[in-house]
């Protein structure tokens, strides 16, 4: 338990500091390269200047994150996208009252983010380890089956349909590569993703050198995966060669 707390404080402080500094930089993008999420930018703007709004907004997501970490050990992306940046802003605003501080002061915001991150991550991680193990068994059985279905076949279908809706080039490339990927790797998603990227690049920029290099890399990748998974043996057997 003590080791869990210590580790949670460390990862929470590290990640909390970094995303908060990244969020401050977002208010100065694209001149400065920043990191975060567009929704964070919009939501920080929406409650700009009011510490209570920032706090309440983050609190709304805390309960959902708690449910998710208890059930599946997943903190959800909301911890770093929403709770930490908003609570860090609230903390800074309590101290300075200057509403431009959260948008400009990386040092102060970073410190607040590290504190909030450490507290929130530790709280969520320790809550879930207090849950009895019989409950965790039910959760993992139910979730395991649901995620198996999600990974195969729902995920391949979603990416496949997205590729078909994105135009002729993407649709053809994703169908060919998706079929190959399902056969060789057991899941069509990597093929569909590469098909979308290749198809869209052909559509927008034509058959240029970059696309050919990308396609060559994909062919080598697929061939080596097929070889290491022993697919060529099964292939020749199936066609009685």
């Amino acid at each position: 338990m003590l080791s869990l707390v210590v580790k949670s404080v460390i990862v929470g402080a590290l990640a909390g500091w970094a995303v908060t500094v990244g969020a401050v930089r977002m208010f100065h993008a694209p001149e400065i390269q920043s990191m975060g999420a567009f929704r964070t930018l919009g939501e920080l703007n929406a409650c700009k200047g009011d510490p209570v709004s920032h706090f309440m907004f983050g609190l709304g997501f805390l309960f959902n994150s708690a449910a998710s970490v208890v059930g599946a050990g997943a903190l959800t992306q909301d911890v770093l996208h929403r709770i930490v940046p908003n609570w860090a802003s609230a903390l800074v605003l309590l101290k300075t009252k200057d509403t431009s501080e959260p948008l400009n002061n990386t040092r102060l915001m970073g410190m607040a983010g590290a504190i909030v991150g450490a507290v929130v991550v530790t709280l969520l991680n320790t809550i879930s380890s207090a849950v009895p193990s019989s409950m965790a068994v039910v959760a993992s059985k139910v979730l395991g089956q649901a995620s198996n279905w999600l990974i195969n076949p729902i995920m391949p279908i979603i990416f496949w349909l997205a590729a078909l809706d994105a135009g002729v080039q993407s649709g053809v490339a994703a169908t060919l590569l998706g079929g190959l990927a399902q056969m060789i790797m057991g899941n069509a998603v990597p093929g569909c993703v590469l098909g979308i990227i290749i198809g869209k690049n052909v559509e927008e920029n034509g058959w240029n050198k970059s696309v050919k290099i990308l396609l060559t890399i994909v062919v080598i990748l697929f061939a080596s995966i097929a070889y290491f998974r022993g697919f060529h043996v099964k292939f020749f057997k199936a066609f009685a060669l």
Partner: protein
């Protein structure tokens, strides 16, 4: 006006490195304590599935796809999406690749996981600055919007899937799942959380014989 070091280009790879150190530490905690992964339920479950079946193709390819797409897009728009690139790409994809190649210890050990995360983040940050300085001609971030749309649509499927799975597990768990999901939907919260909590509570009170 005084410009702080943390606002400079040079600081960017360092900030990404610190973020990845924390996120990779979270993944390490997930491997050892089954808590603390900085990601959505369905992404974390892909890694869990790999741990159970030994097949990491889904987790690794899903996450690597997001990492590549986001690293191409980040310098173009000036905002690197940390959800796709760092939490999913670095936090789930790289561990999946490492474990599949037999280096599970590297991520299970908290210290090496944090150090390795920092290193991975440093590389990602430097690559983004390089791409930003010299956007390669003729290869654009085309297609990333299609991928992101598909990726985000996936999360929506999880709620109904959990309810269907809970019903096939046991009747009490199933009832708990759909009541919990309905309650969460009414309260304007994502329904997977409610479905799991409901299934866990009723499924534990009335266990499968």
């Amino acid at each position: 006006m005084h410009k702080s070091f943390l606002m400079t280009d040079l600081a960017f790879p360092l900030i990404v490195a610190v973020a990845c150190a924390g996120i990779m530490g979270g993944t390490s905690l997930f491997l050892t304590n089954r808590v603390g992964a900085f990601n959505e339920i369905f992404v974390v479950q892909m890694l869990s599935n790999g741990l159970q079946t030994g097949d990491y193709a889904a987790a690794a390819s899903f996450a690597a796809g997001f990492l590549i797409a986001r690293v191409l897009e980040g310098p173009l728009v000036g905002v690197l999406d940390i959800g796709g690139s760092l939490m999913t790409g670095v936090g789930i994809g790289i561990p999946a690749l490492l474990i599949a190649s037999g280096y599970k210890g590297l991520i299970e050990n908290f210290t090496t996981a944090v150090l390795f995360g920092a290193l991975a983040g440093l590389v990602v940050g430097l690559v983004i600055l390089l791409v930003r300085k010299s956007m390669p001609q003729g290869l654009s971030a085309a297609g990333t919007d299609v991928m992101m749309g598909a990726g985000n649509a996936m999360g929506r499927y999880l709620g109904p899937l959990i309810i269907i799975s809970a019903i096939s597990y046991s009747i009490p768990a199933g009832i708990g799942a759909f009541l919990g999901a309905a309650l969460f939907y009414y309260l304007k919260k994502p329904i997977p959380g409610g479905a799991i909590l409901g299934a866990m509570i009723l499924g534990t009170i009335f266990p499968v014989k």
